[in-house]
């Protein structure tokens, strides 16, 4: 697989300025984004369940360059969404798709190994990850230690690609379970829900890692969470401000979030940041039959309207 990928990258590199892929990170359990500009760099390219990042997040800033990019199924949704919103040019992009059977959650692995330093990581063909720490080796199933999004993944094969490395995979996860956790949360009482968010948002340290990791957060330096004019937020560390920040993030992603889970992966405090966006997505599907990042010809629901909205009923007091 990796040989075929390297071959493809070498071929693509002839026509583009750079190819974005993955290489080994600062320790055995972390991979890191890898920017390939010359053929001698290709050797260091890797592909395994450690490749968790959504590399497409770099694309809007590279809009005018010719870029080759390696994407998993979930990452490809971001590209579709970018194209829908006109944030990137399809002609400047060469997409190398990789069917994905699920990645790992570094955080879950580290929790399992008590945050010991991990010396060696290897994968076998049965879907296991072998982790070696100072306390000895451990064999874990990748499926048990993958991010929550992999458990309900509907698109293991990229939705858009120019080159597909490997055979397409069909999802074996039931589509009705995608929002099962949201439905479960909605069965709680209002007070319980408020209590839940009070606790979760209280942990927020306003580092904005979720926003920085988010591929759809494209305001960059003009984010209203930091702007003084308009002055939406102060720098106080109060619950109100934290809540407000998360609302800004969620509402600016309404009908745009492709649920790649980068916000949650980046959060150092383990806040379920993606939950709000997934709730909105669930409503978008119900109200407008729209799922972000799936169909190139669609338009995000907040960018358009119907004169007669069939699903919106007038409210009574």
């Amino acid at each position: 697989m990796i040989d075929k990928l390297k071959e493809t990258v070498a071929k693509v590199l002839n026509d583009v300025d750079l190819v974005i892929g993955y290489e080994n990170g600062f320790d055995a359990i972390h991979a890191t984004p890898y920017f390939i500009t010359s053929a001698d760099q290709i050797d260091k390219l890797i592909w395994n369940p450690l490749c968790v990042h959504n590399l497409t997040t770099y694309l809007p800033t590279l809009k005018m360059k010719k870029v080759g990019i390696i994407v998993k199924g979930c990452d490809s949704r971001t590209i579709v969404q970018f194209i829908q919103e006109g944030l990137i040019l399809r002609d400047n992009l060469v997409i190398i798709g990789l069917p994905c059977t699920g990645v790992i959650s570094v955080n879950k692995i580290l929790t399992e190994t008590n945050r010991e330093h991990i010396e060696e990581v290897s994968f076998d063909d049965k879907g296991n990850i072998n982790v070696k720490t100072g306390k000895g080796p451990k064999t874990l199933a990748v499926a048990d230690f993958s991010p929550d999004k992999c458990g309900t993944c509907q698109y293991p094969t990229p939705l858009v690609y120019d080159h597909l490395v490997g055979d397409p995979i069909k999802s074996d996860k039931a589509p009705e379970n995608v929002y099962a956790d949201i439905k479960e949360f909605e069965s709680k009482t209002l007070e319980e829900r408020m209590k839940y968010w009070e606790q979760e948002f209280d942990h927020c340290i306003r580092c904005y890692a979720c926003r920085n990791a988010c591929p759809m957060c494209i305001c960059s330096d003009n984010c209203i969470a930091e702007s003084r004019d308009p002055h939406w937020m102060t720098q106080k560390m109060t619950f109100t401000e934290k809540f407000m920040f998360h609302m800004i993030h969620a509402l600016h992603l309404a009908g745009r979030c492709v649920e790649c889970g980068e916000c949650e992966r980046a959060c150092p405090m383990g806040i379920p940041v993606n939950k709000l966006k997934r709730k909105i997505n669930q409503d978008m599907k119900e109200l407008y039959g729209y799922e972000p990042g799936v169909n190139l010809d669609e338009k995000p629901p907040m960018f358009m309207f119907n004169v007669d909205e069939l699903k919106i009923k007038e409210h009574k007091i």
Partner: protein, 143 residues
């Protein structure tokens, strides 16, 4: 004996300049009696109302938020309220997920000639907020 006024709550209203603000004016000119809990903010169009306006109001002390614009198809800018309808409906569904009663937020359409309808809207919405009581959202972070 002077009549004791019931304690006031804070209701914020975002009204579009062309219809609902005119409607509120009509109600005033017609000397309709209205509750005084509502604080009106005039916006150029209901399409100007960012759902974050509503969230920010609720988080910073409002007990209820009312948004009102021109009737669909009657927008002064032809399609502002169509966009507003999509956004506000999304917000109305999101609020209960956050633990805020969705009845604290109401959006509707009132035209400049509908003074009576405006009076009815304000009266009913304010009495609903009084039924629900003040909104309690935690103010400070835990030490």
């Amino acid at each position: 004996m002077p009549e004791v006024a019931p304690k006031e709550l804070r209701v914020v209203g975002f009204l579009c300049n062309w219809c609902s603000y005119g409607g509120a004016d009509t109600a005033g000119v017609s000397r309709f009696k209205q509750p005084t809990d509502l604080r009106i903010i005039r916006v150029p169009c209901s399409g100007r109302v960012d759902p974050l306006f509503v969230v920010k109001a609720l988080l910073n002390g409002a007990d209820g938020v009312l948004v009102s614009g021109c009737h669909p198809r009657d927008c002064h800018y032809s399609d502002g309220n169509f966009y507003a309808r999509r956004r506000l409906e999304m917000l109305k569904r999101l609020l209960p997920f956050l633990g805020i009663d969705e009845r604290r937020f109401y959006y509707t359409w009132v035209s400049a000639s509908e003074g009576a309808r405006w009076q009815q809207t304000v009266t009913e919405f304010t009495s609903r907020i009084h039924e629900l009581g003040p909104l309690h959202i935690k103010k400070e972070a835990a030490p």
